[in-house]
Symmetry: C2
Subunit: 331 residues, 2 copies
């Protein structure tokens, strides 16, 4: 018995377009979740974006508030990017009792308290698996571990663009500017790469993970950030001499006095460390719980396919949680 769920997508660019197209084509309906998703509206500028995403232009209009307020929308998927109007639209949807699934780490990290308050008020779920580590089941894993561990450390390679650049410098011995240009040619880096290479994207992500870990809110401004634009080939030579390499590590770590240190910085990792084996634009994260010990996850941190997959998993979980179904295995 498939259950029908009405979905609106805010922003149908790279990621949102992939999600909207899958829902509209029925490709998102999955036997294991028993859900039938229906795309009822998409927010974007107009027919041109609809055509680019390959979805019915009649579903697309720029009125985000109007879409969020529709009575027939059950779940809002937010893939606008940028802090605003994304955060305000998510808050509005949640307060009305609509579940929200987002891939937007910036809007989330900068507005978590207001977003969580709206979710509580509306008794709705805010789901954000896709916002950190793309297709890696990171949020669900951290949430599971947190139910009965004290987590004192979450460390990760959370930005694929910078990992691609650092790995190329390590592997090919090319300098930073050449590696950055390569990343731009492949579409891994934006024409203005600041948010990635200066560590701001990773800072948003580790602020969210640190908030989960500590149970108290950390604005991304609290993160001590050093990007990779100052990393030179001599730094890799030094690291090699010490038996390791360099990666951009984002970390949330509990200090001895109980406070939380949040940082993003190019970091030496020994060759015996799994992080040294993270190549190209992959992501990885290590969660250390006092009972489970170190848990390490690795996968594709970005791209329309993995990110859309994480979004649609969240959609399924939110819809199933709302139905009160038991988490038994389907055969």
């Amino acid at each position: 018995m498939a259950r029908s769920v009405n979905v609106a997508v805010l922003g149908i660019g790279n990621i949102g377009g992939e999600v909207a197209r899958r829902i509209a084509s029925g490709a998102s309906a999955t036997p294991s979740s028993g859900l039938e998703l229906k795309l009822v509206a998409a927010m974007d500028r107009g027919p041109e974006q609809a055509a680019a995403a390959g979805i019915d232009p009649a579903l697309v209009n720029p009125d985000g508030v109007g879409i969020v307020d529709r009575d027939d929308v059950d779940i809002v998927i937010e893939t606008l990017g940028g802090a605003q109007p994304a955060a305000d639209l998510m808050i509005r949807a949640l307060a009305q009792g609509k579940h929200v699934v987002t891939a937007n780490k910036e809007a989330l990290a900068k507005n978590l308290p207001a977003i969580l308050a709206a979710a509580r008020d509306g008794d709705a779920a805010i789901m954000y698996e896709a916002s950190i580590g793309g297709g890696i089941p990171l949020v669900v894993s951290l949430r599971q571990i947190l139910t009965n561990n004290r987590v004192d450390s979450v460390r990760g390679i959370l930005n694929g663009t910078t990992n691609y650049i650092l790995h190329r410098m390590e592997d090919e011995g090319c300098d930073y500017a050449t590696a950055l240009q390569g990343a731009q040619e492949l579409g891994y880096a934006e024409p203005d790469p600041t948010a990635d290479v200066e560590g701001l994207d990773a800072a948003n992500k580790i602020a969210i993970l640190g908030t989960m870990m500590a149970g108290e809110y950390f604005h991304p401004e609290r993160v001590d950030v050093t990007g990779i634009s100052g990393v030179g080939l001599e730094d890799f030579a030094d690291a090699r001499e010490r038996g390791g390499t360099l990666r951009l590590i984002a970390a949330a770590e509990r200090r001895d006095d109980g406070s939380i240190a949040l940082s993003v910085a190019p970091t030496f990792v020994p060759n015996t460390d799994l992080f040294s084996r993270v190549v190209r634009n992959f992501n990885a994260v290590e969660i250390v719980g006092d009972r489970v010990g170190p848990v390490w996850l690795h996968g594709q941190g970005a791209g329309p396919d993995p990110t859309a997959s994480a979004i649609l998993s969240d959609v399924a979980e939110a819809a199933i949680a709302g139905s009160g179904a038991s988490p038994t295995m389907n055969l």
Copy 2:
């Protein structure tokens, strides 16, 4: 507002004793789940086992059926080991609408259809995160990925004992018998190590993962099994020459004709492969989804602490799912 949940533990040995002790001492109550667990009964032979586990002997008796049938039990934790009477007790509890959390891969793998049917009949959850990969959030991750991916391959190092033996042979150049003896001295291997070294334990685990992946049942007899007792130092020398090493890999893979191949065998892994970096008694698994691509998880696959952690996470999830609470983040 803490919600009180009554729990019975079947079997208070190594793992079950740890779980029972934590629940009895209140150490399992966790702010993030908002649950207060209460140990109301434990099945084991008697006062001697109660004393060894450090729990009130008045709670312990050998009558498993009597304990499962108690009206005041909400959740049954099964850590007896062995196929029976574990499977029959789980089926009995589920049919009565009690959630069951198990660490018992053998009972599960050999009786999955009957266990799932009982869960459906009783509208109860069967949770088994602890039965594969100990503290690694593997079941929750695979379940998330399966909601909207076709998974064509699950491969893993699922037995810590054999990985410890193989890694020692690789690292120290000692022979199989010496490495096995070392594992026995550390308590990683049983006095009769057959189930581990002949691959039967890994076969139970990959049968469960293959069943999840394919949505059809595979009895562990369907797994093509080769253990590690025939692996010699010359095999490691060969592997080293080819630029890699040996690991006991359990695999569920979809063939071109759509059928599923299940196997456990000592396998060559190149040095560039993350599996080659799995040392000592750690476990790891790779899930390949058609949308998320390869996702790789690594952690402690056994031991009272990680396994008890996985059990208590499942207890929290089962209890929360039953309450209809939304999966919002707690701050």
